[in-house]
Amino acid sequence: MAESINKSRIDLLVIGGSAGSLEVILKAFPQLTTDLPFAIILVLHRKQNTDTTLIDLLSAKTKITVIEANEKELIKAGCIYVAPADYHLLIENDHTLSLDYSEKVNFSRPCIDITFQTAAETYKDRLACLLMSGASADGVEGLELVKTLQGITAVQDPKTAEVSYMPQKALDKMEVDYIVETDKVFDFINMLAKSSELTA
């Protein structure tokens, strides 16, 4: 599997997480390579009205630009976009972002499945998705579609995830390309960066 990855170039990495993910991401961020050849989108379940603090928290951990995903914004390599609380984040064919205030899905808004799905349908094999710790099944179906459309799929290792349910649920349903150790998330992202550069 690692072989095929070495040859693949991605333009976008989407990370979906719920309970127990944020801590892991905050730990990973300082060790990320600062010249990312792709964009990262974070879709995190959380309480409402915590947006500015979340962006500040994340920004403090990396030199990479971390911004809230604005509607109509063009996705650019080298930036990290955070889905705002209480809106779904969708990806358009022209690689711009859209926000949607429709019903919650899987009891969640933002819903990870929706971002995974719309990202998969536009980026196809130029996409990687990582599903992290959480007590929800959100993201599992979307990850399956990512796989169907030839994207790279990964989950945080349920053995060391704070809440194993979400990544385990994915493993029960599908074979993923990567099972990422909880303290190796940065490594995984840097590896994607490296292989994307090699094939650029």
Binding site: E71, K72, E92, N93, S98, Q117, T118, L145, T148
Partner: protein, 272 residues
């Protein structure tokens, strides 16, 4: 999860049918959301094929009504974003209080939760009697609900919390009476509301307002359509009037931006 059954090209075909046969123009809506809605409807109504789906839309006028109702997103809340209502209460209405008459337009009002929230704030500021609220939406079905002023009782705890956070000082429950699982809002609130269909895409300016609220509607429009609607609002707003958008919407990049000044932190602009 399967790939969307109805593909991009098919979405275009359906939207063109809707425009040609029924005059509803959704062609400048953000595609990803409309695609999701159409696919949702397709599986909800269990069509066996795109052809059958299209046939229904073209030949069954009542179905076109359902189609429009279902592809628009009507989710809303009372006192959604309490900080926004606090700004209305403390920074907008005090200005409008000096006018002899206050006309407010709620564009894309959905099932009316927003209109009743604004009415409550006006009441508490003693401005209600000289106000008129024009609440419009493209979707006639949501307007019918809005006119009834009945919302799920199960939501009242949340709404009451929002209300208090927004600076409300009364007992929120004094504004409604519980009726089985519904909260029926005070008839008097309804007395200053005018409900009407209005399509922001194709209908014109119909009055001059001191305040226009259009929240969480523009996120569904592409940039060109947003620009067009901003012009409509500019035309419909008196000098020194206010324009209020949703938390994630902005006037900043529009051509009318230079005519407006933003109030501190909220998405409220004043025409200057």
């Amino acid at each position: 999860m399967q790939e969307s059954a109805i593909r991009d090209e098919e979405i275009e075909i359906l939207l063109n049918d809707l425009l040609e046969l029924y005059g509803y123009d959704f062609t400048n809506y953000s595609k990803a959301s409309i695609k999701r809605r159409i696919n949702r409807l397709y599986s909800l109504d269990k069509f066996p094929s795109f052809a059958e789906f299209r046939y229904h839309l073209r030949n069954d006028a009542p179905y076109s009504k359902r189609f429009v109702e279902q592809i628009t997103v009507n989710v809303t809340e009372m006192f959604r974003d309490p900080g926004f209502y606090k700004a209305l209460r403390e920074q907008v209405f005090p200005h409008l209080g000096t006018y002899p008459f206050i006309r407010i337009w709620l564009a894309g009002c959905s099932t009316g939760e927003e209109a009743y929230s604004v009415a409550i704030v006006l009441k508490e500021l003693n401005l209600f009697d000289k106000s008129l609220l024009y609440a419009t939406d493209i979707n006639p079905e949501v307007l019918e609900k809005a006119e009834k002023g009945m919302f799920p009782l199960s939501q009242m705890k949340q709404y009451s919390e929002n209300y208090i956070l927004s600076g409300g000082k009364h007992e929120f429950s004094s504004y409604y009476s519980a009726n089985y699982n519904l909260a029926k809002f005070d008839e008097s609130l309804r007395s200053k509301m005018i409900f009407s269909t209005h399509n922001l895409v194709s209908d014109h300016s119909f009055n001059q307002f001191q305040l226009i609220l259009c929240r969480n509607v523009l996120i569904y429009f592409d940039k060109d359509l947003q620009a067009k609607v901003f012009n409509l609002f500019d035309q419909s707003l008196e000098n020194l009037g206010f324009l209020a958008l949703g938390t994630k919407e902005t006037l900043r990049f529009s051509s009318i931006a230079s005519n407006f000044r933003q109030l501190n932190s909220e998405k409220i602009w004043r025409k200057v």
